[in-house]
């Protein structure tokens, strides 16, 4: 299994600012993903981070709001732009490796927007 770390683990940000979350995997992986989890709720896929090409966004999520980078096979960033209190959530990075589609998750970044 892959070991995934995220930075920061939590942050409190002001409305209108942006925050970039980093995700580091301890081994090269084919695919990386970003999810959002509202407190007490399930996970929703934001986008698939593609190495060497633009991320693939799910319905309801757009690149201008959640730009994503994937410069190599072990690292990705998610930026939450022009934040509002509705963006307060836990943001989770995951990595997929192997033909069994397993995904392993990082510890998450807890974001509070005031």
């Amino acid at each position: 299994s892959a070991v995934i770390s995220q930075k920061p683990s939590r942050d409190i940000c002001q409305r209108g600012t942006s925050l970039t979350i980093q995700c580091q995997v301890d081994s090269q992986v084919t695919m990386m993903f970003w999810y959002r989890q509202q407190p007490g709720q399930s996970l929703t896929l934001i986008a698939t981070a593609n190495q060497g090409s633009e991320a693939t966004y799910e319905s309801g999520f757009v690149i201008d709001k959640f730009p994503i980078s994937r410069p190599n096979l072990t690292f990705s960033t998610l930026t939450v732009s022009n934040m509002s209190p509705e963006d307060s959530s836990i943001y989770l990075c995951s990595a997929g490796q192997g033909e069994g589609y397993e995904q392993y998750f990082g510890p998450g970044t807890r974001l509070t927007v005031t």
């Binding site: 995934i4 993903f33 996970l43 698939t48 069994g100 589609y101 397993e102 995904q103 998750f105």
Partner: protein, 113 residues
């Protein structure tokens, strides 16, 4: 969306009992399923997976059953321990060949000593 708000279904069991957590999935074309355990303040932890060409798969103290006829998935935990207390999510891969998971609403398991 998949969420039902803050009131997760809860399963309360005694230590040593067997637990069964159920999940209904929506897409008959889903080809792969995963169970995750999420403890408070942590990311989801992979427990066990199963492909759609299987009915049952066993791990250490856990068994996943897949009933494609009624689109139902279950996770059985044998000899449940207090450390098993967490929220459990099922996830389905709805697009064959793509690693795009859709998560269920989750079930909170509470294990009493």
């Amino acid at each position: 969306g998949e969420s039902v708000g803050l009131h997760l279904p809860t399963l309360s069991v005694q230590e040593g009992d067997n637990s069964i957590i159920n999940c209904a999935y929506s897409n008959s074309a889903s080809d792969y399923f995963i169970w995750y355990k999420q403890e408070s303040g942590k990311g989801p932890q992979f427990i066990i997976d199963i492909r759609s060409n299987m009915d049952k798969r066993q791990g250490q103290r856990v068994t996943v059953l897949l009933n494609k006829t009624v689109k139902h998935l279950s996770l059985q935990i044998a000899a449940t321990q207090p450390g098993d207390s967490a929220v459990y999510f099922c996830a389905e891969n709805r697009e064959a060949g793509f690693q795009k998971l859709v998560f269920g609403t989750g079930t909170r398991l509470l294990v009493s000593p």
